[in-house]
Symmetry: C2
Subunit: 105 residues, 2 copies
């Protein structure tokens, strides 16, 4: 079975989809943690207050919107923020939505 889930190409990014992903506080927190860390993070290593199955759901939404890229390393699934692509598709959006960025970088 293929273990690499589908990711949208950059030219198929959809603003509506991205906004729906970013409107959830938990998902926005995931994005913010990825941005702050500056490195890829495993699903289980995030500081979030929901169950694992709910977390899986959030990662899927973020991935399908194009905000993150997911790949396996062993049993862990690493998450990478697609910041460059997002910035190109929707300039200023992530900066406006991630608190740490908005607050003077």
């Amino acid at each position: 079975m293929e273990r690499t889930p589908p990711h949208p190409e950059m030219d198929r990014f959809d603003l509506q989809r991205v906004l729906e992903a970013l409107v959830d506080p938990v998902r926005r927190s995931i994005v913010a943690q990825l941005d702050a860390a500056g490195e890829d993070i495993a699903c289980g290593a995030f500081d979030i207050s929901v169950s694992k199955s709910t977390a899986t759901h959030h990662f899927k939404v973020l991935r399908e919107a194009g905000l993150i890229r997911q790949y396996y390393v062993g049993t862990s699934r690493l998450n990478a923020l697609r910041r460059t692509e997002m910035d190109q598709a929707f300039p200023g959006l992530l900066d406006a939505v991630i608190p740490a960025r908005a607050a003077g970088r």
Copy 2:
């Protein structure tokens, strides 16, 4: 009875609230039309595809998030985009979210 509805002050703007308002396509269209027009517009003069009662609901959400200011002139209620305040509170957000703005201004 007081006819001026409550508006949040700028220092009480809440990102979560603003995003919830902007995630709806109808509301984003209202904001975009206000931005493009550059002048205040009456509730009934927008190009939207929902009933009047639904429109009222959307205007209320936008107002309570701080995105628009509403005031009466006769039986009409005019809507003004609070762009300056929004730009100050969340720099780059409206630019990123309004298509006309995002597409090279």
